[in-house]
Every structure is written in C-alpha cells, then in structure tokens.
Symmetry: C2
Subunit: 509 residues, 2 copies
C-alpha cells in the first residue's frame, strides 16, 4: 500500500458508505469543512461517549460545561488570540492564490521555516526565488493572517465576535463560577466537548487539517505546590506509555521509550502527576478504540514548539500513512490564562487554601474528535488479496454492531429476522437489518463498514430455533440457539469471550 | 407567584447552582449568549439522549448526521435565507439603539404588527408618534436586517460564509448521498443535533430568545402519495394529544381539544400520518421530561404564520409564566427545499419507485434544547411556605440522581459513604458525594438542584449494614439493607416502585 493510496481508499469508502463527505458538496464544497454521515456520526458519538465515560463521568471532581461557540472580542484580547493567533500568508500578485509562507518554503527548500519572522520568510522566498506554485507569478511580502473567523454580534455598530479557536477559553472565563460550584476546593477539572474553528490558509489532508473541528478538552485545575498529589494517581501509576524525550529527539530515535508513568516522573521525564495521569488515561482510551499501542507515543515538545508559559507540552503522535501526526495535545498551561483574564476583567481568580491564596495551574488534555476518528479508520482498514475490504473496528467503536439477515425473503424468514433485529435493538445493540441481495454480498457490505458480527436466519432457525453468527475477522460461523443470542453477542462484544471459544458450535464449511 | 418573579427565581438558582450563566459574564456578557454549567450540561445531555433514543435509535429508518455549522453562501442563496431571513429594524438617530420595528409597535400600540411591510411599519410608527423608548430620539425608517451571522472563509477575497440559522439545510444539501445510504427507499428520516445561530435584534427572556441555540431536528422524507402509510403509525394511533385547531382559534378557545392522533386524521384536523406520528411522540417525550400534559398543546398555525409552501405547521406551545411559547415546531415543508437545492446545484433529487420518479416531501419536527430545558426548569420549580425551594425533576431528567452523605466525617463514616457513592457511580448512577455542613443543610442543597434521592450513612450503617434513603418530594425516609440499595434506587428511578410502597421500612419521626 503506498502512502497516498491509503488515505484515498479511506476517502473512497467514507464517501460511498456514509462516513464522511465534503460540506456543501453539491455546490462545489467549502475548503476545509466536512459533514459526517450516518456511520461517521455513530462513530463520533462512540468516541465522545468513551472519552466522557472515562475522563468525566468516572471521575469524581470533573464536570462538563457547554460554553458559547461565538465569543465577544474582549475574551480574545485578553487570551492573546487577537494579537498572535495567526499564520504567515503570502499571496500571488497575478492569480491571487494564497499560501502559508512557512509551509511553501518548507515544501520547496525542504528546510524548516515554522516560527520564523516575516522578514526571515521574505528573505528565504527571495533567496530561493520562490514564485507562485500555481501560475509562477510574483509573491507578495508575507503578512500575519489571523486564523479566527470574525463576525458582528447585533446589527450595524454592534460588537465584534469570533468563533472560538479552542474550547478552553470558555472554561477560563467561567472560572469563578465553576470554582464556586466546586466549593473552591482544588483540584477539580472542567471538561468540554464542542466545535472550534480555525480559518486555515491551506486546509488539506481530508479531515486532518480542517477549518471546523470538534474538540474534547479538560482543564484540570490544581495547586502547583501539590502537583504530585493527584488523588487518583495510584490507579494509573503502573500503566506503561511510549515516550519520546527531548534528549531522544536531540540524539535521534527509532523506538520510543517504554516506561510506566510513575517511572517517568521519578526519572524527571514528565513534569508532574497531573500531566502523567492523562498520558496513562489516553493510552488506555486509544487502545480501546482499536489503535495499536505500537502506533503512537508521547513526544515532549521542544521549547520553541510550546508557548513560552508552558511548563511542559506532550503531543500524542500517531504513525499515519502520510507521516507523524499530533492527534492529542497535553499542555501544562500554568496559571497563564487565568492571570490574563483576571487582569483584563478585574476579577479575582484566587482560591484560598489554609491561609494561602492560589491561582491554580492547569493541565490540559486536548483531543480532536476528527483526527482520532481518521486514525481509527486508517488503523482498522484491512484488505486482502481477493480485493475484500473491511474495517476491523472493535465493537466499542463500530458504528453498527450487528447485522441481521434473513437467508431468503420468503417463507416467513424475513419477518422472523426482523423480529430478532428488533429485539437486539431493544436490548441496546446498534443492529442493522438487511434483506436485499445474495447473502455473500450482504456479508461483504457489512464487513466494509466494520460490523463485527452478522446474524443469519435460515430454515433451521424456524425448525430448530437456532441462528448463525458470523465473525467479521475470521469469517467463521457458529450456530447457536436463538435464546442464547443476546448473551453470546454481549460476551463477544465486551471481549469477555473470543469467537474461537465457541469451537463446539462452529459450522464446518 | 407573579409572572416575572418565577423567571427571576429560576435565573437566580441557575446562576448560583451551576445550571446557566451569561456568556463572557466577566466581560459584561454578549447579549443573547449563555453558557451551561455542570448541572445545565448534564440536563442538556439527558434531554438529547431521551430524544435520540426515541426519535432516532428506536427507529429503524432514521439516522443522524453531523453537518457543518458554517456553510458557504450558495447554500443560503438557494434556500432563500439570504434574501428573506430577516427582521425589520429601526434605529434611534440620537442614541443609536436598535429595535425590532414590529415588536416595538406591538408593545406600544398593543396591535399586531408582525409580517407587515416596511412601509406599513413606517406608517404605524409615524401615526402613533413612536419615538426611541430609551432616549425619546427620532427613529429611522425601518429596514430589513438579515439574521444570519456572516463571515469570510479563507483570507481576503475568500468565500462568504454564514453560521447556519437552522440545522435543516445540512440535511437537504446532503440528500443525494443520504438517499444512497438508505438505498433510495422511502420513507427515511435524517436527524441532526447541533447549534444554530440567529443574530436577533433584541434577544431577551433568558434562554428563550437567544442568538445561539441548540436544535434537535429530523427531516422525515416520504412519498407524498403514501402520506398515510407511515410504517409505525399503528404504534401511536391511540395516543391522545392536545390540539388547537384553526377553527378553535377563529372562535376563541379556552381548553385544547383532546383527541387521539388517529381521530385527528380521520376528522381532517391533522394533514397526514407523518406529521401526526411526531405529535404523538413529542407528547410522550415531554411527559417523560416532567412537563405535565395540561401545560402544552399543538396549535395549527394560521396561513399567514407558516411559509407559503407549507402543507401544515403545528407548533407545540407551552403555558409559561410569561405567556404562551413555542418550544417545538412541526412543519410539512413539502418538497420545497429539495426542489430549490436541486435547481440551484443542478442535481437530481428524484427517487425512483415502481416507475414513478418522486421528489419526496418532508415532515420536520424541530426542537430547541434550550427552550425545552427552560420549560422543565419552570414546570418542576417548587417552593413552600418555609421558603424551601426545589426542582421536582423526574429521575430521567435530573442532572444528579442520588446524593450520598455520611452523617459525620468521623468514625469511618466518610470512607464508608464514599465507597457507597463510588459503587453507585460504577453502577451508572449520577451520584454526588457531600460531606460538608449539617445534614439538614445538605438535604436542602440537594433538593434545590432536584436530586430525587439522598442516601445517608450513619452509625447504624456500620452496625446493622443499613442505609437511609430520603425522598425529595415527600421528605420521608426509609431504612433498608445496604445490599438492596442499588435495586431499590433503580426501581424508584424507573418508576417501577413508588416511595410509599416501602411503608414497612419508613422511619417514623
């Protein structure tokens, strides 16, 4: 499989089978916007639910909020986004195409240009005689282009507003009320799921660099003097993670370091328990979503890659067909944001604790639903030499969990199959009923969208009250009594049982 | 309780207890935007989950999508929003305040002005000598103000885009792919949950008229020649609804008509089964959310209230303290939107069925999460003459379901209580652990946010392995063995058991 082809294959299945398609496709699309179809939406919901269960509901001091997507200008004046949330832009004088200056230089000269000043970028463009890649026209001088989508709240002369570029700011500006809700006791975490918007100069790579994306974020507020007293750290201390330290990056690395989160703290490789806790939790979550642990690691960002106030940023990077890609960011944002908003709004964000007044520090695990979803699609994609294509989704993430087929429409098989499908739905399974086409074609269609199990109703069902279950991955089938169906499916999906354990029921073909 | 006071009381509890607060409050807010705190968010999620379960997951041919919130201009050119999604605006020449012309006239003259032409509005303002209500300055002539938030996609010279004013358009523009996913078989429904945005001239009444709101919508596509062949109509046929017919509105009405949805179709009061099905489903859903059926009805909109292409619009209206308010709209949008987009994009939206080519009609139940949430808050608000205030939420909608209190912190009671709380969480209950303050104060705090049951751990818990459960509404307590706690709580919450059935376990005070 060549690199490009894998993304193209995934785009192809996504379009054909109701996962993902470009927004406003019938009008030629809008660059960097995608719509999630029925199957893409079911997967998104599962991703969000898995995250919410382990990062919010299972926790004791983490609550979720739902802040506004559109925020007035003073929020971004204070946060710094108005001044500095921008990318360098050059425009072709002739054809008016626009490019991100640093990326264009990197593509052409193969040398790093991210983070350079406008002057340095201009010089590189001149020195390397870089012209417009579309029409060879002259390029303008580089200028900063703010990535926030602006609009006007109210009518003429109203208030400037911006679509949020990250969900985090909603949490910071609500800090006083939220701390009150938590009775002003540290630590506590505030979570949020929702869309953010960045007016990327050149969106690309399908859903990996888009202008609208959905984030799952937590701001975990803690007393910096107690940064190694996380109340639940013991529960994760022994979890092993893959780590790429700064030292490894300097020396060059091939394999990430395998280390328990506790060990990493002891060795000074991770700054504190609050950050380490999330690295362990994310490792477990991604594994449950079908992303093999060999395919991702946490990279300690270099100084120049993280904001100046950061006390340590660790990107979770995955090995995708088109290269390494960050899909989760973990940041120690210190008290930077709270201090900025406290000052700008003249509000006190101090919390009193045994005589001390604390502005808490914050650990932030920030995930993109879209990038996680793409990673799952890529890591679960399978094809064999017969041209059979399928997604090997674990049941926990599969958009549909079971397909129910009558072997034939006639002789009451369709009605019987539909009733079984209906009962599975009532029991909470995402079941899909399919009656059209040959049975082999129905299996192929179900495999292609990653349905783990197919249940077939045939003449023996009527006579002996049995059904067959077919396993997507092994393509083996077992025949079991109807009355055991729900329990057996449940065990197979929860991973309590493996298909191979039902050897006695195997249908030999 | 006077009318204004009830909304004020709800706002007060909402702010203090983490339900809802103004967006960017520390910066003076942004009119018409609200943030949902921890408890407001839990309730929103329950509202959405209840809707999703009955309107999407329990259905067989309804799937949900997640479309972009920001859409390019051609979408709204075709849909008509660019030309006509506007309200009439007048501005004060002196203080520059802006007002919705028709509402201002209605407030001052007490006569209906909605839907009048700009000329007619200007004349009414002149004839009634209406000046600026803030400063008495002269008002400008009325002009149409488009309610969509506009922005620029891409940098200078990019594409105009708008935040969607309704979720519906995402579904229409994706129709071709969605029909393909449903194998071009009618009927099928496409659902969507998400934010929509309207730049209201004068947002007001807390979360009832806002500039950002969340919708739960379905577009149910059907063959207009089979409008009375809804596949599941039998299941709802006998459900009774409250109806206000056009005839009743002409004659004046005091009580809505009580009628089964089947009866209403037979008598020609509801246009077809597809619409009627949703009226029945909505009735059941709102009842489960704690809104008494005596408080809402479906009003058949008058011709001038619905779009010209409508084949019948039925608003679900509730009796709120500040008057009647639409919280759900049901519309038969015919094939209007599909035809508009088919033409503008030069795409065929026809579906073949036994030789006929059909552009389907659509029934649309469209709900606002925010308005439903407010209605629940108002209808569940209780206070008694001791000044005790509580929300009588049904467990299905309560943001937290059970509170666990140790009677004292000492003697191991706190640890024991925490363990019980932890087990309840593991069992899936939204449990809240509270150790601080006198027990009576803890009950009051729990009641105020509508927690249905409080479990108290005391010295008898240690000795006899029993706990008490206190019922929020009756304030009665029972004492039961710890080992029965999960089951008893489950029965009480599902409504399988009433608190009064546990008379034998009642603690006499």
């Amino acid at each position: 499989m060549t690199e490009e082809r894998l993304m193209d294959k995934i785009i192809d299945v996504s379009l054909r089978r109701g996962f993902i398609s470009p927004t406003a496709e019938i009008y030629g699309g809008a660059g960097g916007f995608y719509d999630y179809g029925p199957l893409g939406t079911l997967m998104r919901q599962k991703i969000i639910d898995l995250w919410r269960q382990s990062f919010v509901l299972d926790e004791d001091k983490v609550f979720e909020i739902t802040g506004s997507l559109l925020l007035p200008e003073p929020v971004f004046q204070a946060s710094g986004h108005l001044d500095s949330f921008s990318d360098p832009l050059v425009q072709c004088d002739k054809c008016k195409s626009m490019f991100r200056a640093d990326e264009l230089i990197e593509q052409i000269t193969k040398q790093k240009a991210e983070g350079l000043t406008l002057e340095a970028l201009d010089k590189l463009i001149q020195d390397n005689s870089i012209n417009c890649p579309s029409c060879k026209g002259e390029l303008s001088k580089a200028r900063q282009f703010n990535l926030m989508f602006g609009t006007e709240i109210g009518s003429t002369g109203g208030m400037k507003g911006y679509l949020r570029p990250e969900t985090a700011q909603n949490i910071f500006i609500n800090f006083k009320r939220l701390a009150g809700f938590m009775r002003n006791k540290l630590p506590f975490g505030i979570a949020q799921v929702g869309h953010s918007f960045r007016n990327e100069i050149s969106p690309r790579n399908f859903i990996l660099r888009v202008r609208q994306f959905e984030q799952m974020e937590i701001e975990m507020f803690y007393d910096p003097e107690k940064e190694n007293e996380h109340p639940r750290f013991d529960e994760v201390a022994e979890i092993e993670i893959n780590l790429v330290t700064r030292e490894m990056q300097e020396k060059g690395w091939e394999e990430p370091l395998r280390v328990t989160v506790e060990g990493a703290i002891v060795e000074g490789l991770i700054p504190n328990q609050y950050l380490a806790y999330y690295l362990a939790m994310e490792t477990e979550m991604l594994k449950a979503m079908g992303i093999p642990e060999t395919e991702f690691w946490f990279r300690h960002m270099q100084d120049h890659e993280a904001p100046h106030y950061s006390a340590g940023n660790f990107d979770l990077e995955v090995n995708l067909s088109l290269g390494h890609m960050e899909i989760i960011g973990n940041a120690l944002r210190t008290d930077y944001d709270l201090q900025k908003h406290a000052k700008a709004s003249n509000t006190s964000f101090e919390i009193a604790d045994e005589g001390r007044k604390i502005v808490p520090h914050v650990a932030e695990p920030s995930m993109g639903v879209d990038r996680i979803l793409y990673t799952i699609l890529e890591k679960c994609y399978r094809e064999d030499d017969r041209g059979w294509v399928w997604f090997q989704f674990p049941a926990a993430i599969a958009p549909l969990e079971v397909a129910v087929f009558p072997l034939m429409k006639k002789d009451g098989l369709a009605e019987l199959a539909y009733d079984i499908h209906d009962e599975l739905k009532d029991a909470g399974y995402l079941s899909f009923y399919d009656v059209s086409g040959k049975i082999g074609k129905r299996y192929a269609r179900a495999d292609e969208i990653g349905i783990p199990f197919c249940v077939t109703i045939d003449y023996e069902t009527k006579e002996e009250l049995t059904v067959t279950i077919r396993d997507r991955d092994s393509m083996q089938q077992i025949r079991i009594p109807i009355e055991d169906l729900e329990v057996v499916l449940g065990e197979l999906m929860d991973g309590e049982a493996e298909f191979s354990e039902f050897e006695d029921y195997l249908i030999k073909s």
